[in-house]
Symmetry: C2
Subunit: 281 residues, 2 copies
């Protein structure tokens, strides 16, 4: 759907960008709420929201589509608080958290199938405020939409919102599959980059020059640590599975090195290089 | 020293760049040798060498400074073959391999203290040919110079060569320290990037979209696998040490995740983020 009145709860980098882009694509009325006055005022000044509202319930009471744009904890708390109002008014609602099973399970528990589907826009978890919002942030971006059991119609409305009000590319995916995939495609790389940086912090030689390879392999370690801790813990079963796969690969190398077997080391490096080569032109 | 006649054995990306830059900085005569006719001819055409010579001994017989620019295996074979001629003529000599203990130990065994010191220009191991040579490749580049026991004078001459004939920045370092440092600064990041790619190749989900974080963390996996296998095996004691440190960091995270302890996960992520933050403006 293209809402007449869009409500956005949380006007940080992601929520702020959603509101701003919807404003640009012609949604006439956009109600914003943020616990931080600074982000709220910045969003109004930028023209990302048409009205700043003092509490989340007032947003839901007046909007016909609501995006909850907060951390996992915030999102679940909002869903609990707003569930009956969402159902009573028949307001379609989605969220933007990076791990989908917890919020989808909660929505099922709360009986929100008629109005809710989860979303995960592929922009990486961020805890930055509205100053990092950008109306183009979600334009053309892949957005996973994870339906609640029996919630296919709500999922259709949510996908339609992403396509028509934001210009993003929504793809429907089961929450369980979503979380498995992302353990590999996003959470494992983050974990490995952080582990490399943590190892260097703990045991690396002091005062040396790290070259481009070390800096590139650890770049992701500089992340929003509170949000990433939430993500990794929320998806820990899948992350631990992926880490077992990673540890097995590393063990293969360690054995080959301990044996001084250059041929095995080369075979191992070649499998890795071939995989990575698929992503280069 | 600035040689009157420089000899370069191996005209690939590194050897070719050394010859070429020396030519540009005014070394009048540059003798080149390469087992591949194609690289040799390309070096002559580019003006990187003034004469292409048919064997390594002829280069040593006519040069007053020799750079052996090959793999570890090639370099040690050349040193064995050329040792008596180098000593007899008093020709200063260096190499460019990435692990320094093996070549320094061999030079000590061969009694080459008067003429040899190892070098490691910080350009990453490469197996590319002369087509990847570039006279600017080593300009301003850090070059570790590792003396042979009792070989301080030769090490001085080698450092002088890098400074005056190439415009690089040589730093003297003991071979043992060099190899320890590089296990952390270069070999561990390479190993981790390759292990991540190898794990994804073996166990990652098929047909999914890998985002920037996964591609960045694995970029180094696409490397010259034969040369890297040689490097990792040559430095395997230090690499295995560094890998133990890395595995310990990863184990900390796995324990915190298994316990669902978000606070510990965040503390761990923060130590990593703080370390990495030191390298950003």
């Amino acid at each position: 759907m293209v809402p007449d009145t869009l409500g956005v709860l949380g006007l940080g980098a992601v929520g702020g960008s959603i509101a701003w882009q919807a404003a640009r694509l012609g949604v006439p009325r956009i109600l914003g709420y943020d616990a931080s006055t600074r982000d709220g005022v910045a969003a109004v000044k930028a023209g990302a929201v048409t009205e700043l509202v003092r509490d989340a319930a007032t947003v839901v009471a007046n909007a016909d589509f609501v995006v909850i744009a907060g951390s996992g904890d915030d999102t679940r708390a909002q869903l609990c608080a707003l569930a009956s109002l969402l159902l009573e008014r028949g307001v379609f609602c989605t969220d933007v958290t990076a791990v989908k099973r917890p919020v989808v399970a909660l929505a099922e528990e709360l009986g929100l199938a008629a109005v809710f589907a989860g979303s995960h826009p592929h922009v990486g978890p961020t805890s930055d405020g509205f100053r990092c919002a950008n109306p183009g942030l979600l334009s053309g971006t892949l957005v996973y939409v994870t339906p609640v059991m029996g919630g296919d119609r709500a999922a259709d409305e949510v996908r339609d919102f992403w396509t028509r009000s934001i210009g993003a590319n929504p793809v429907a995916l089961d929450a369980t599959q979503h979380d498995q995939l992302h353990a590999w495609t996003g959470h494992l790389p983050q974990t490995v980059a952080s582990a490399l940086a943590a190892a260097m912090a703990a045991g690396g030689p002091a005062g040396v020059t790290y070259g481009n390879s070390a800096l590139e392999a650890t770049r992701q370690a500089r992340c929003g640590t509170a949000l990433w801790a939430e993500v990794l813990v929320a998806n820990r079963d899948n992350v631990l599975d992926a880490l077992r796969g990673f540890a097995a690969s590393l063990d293969e190398l360690r054995e080959a090195l301990a044996a001084g077997n250059r041929r095995r080391v080369e075979t191992w490096l070649t499998a890795a290089a071939d995989w990575r080569g698929r992503f280069e032109p």
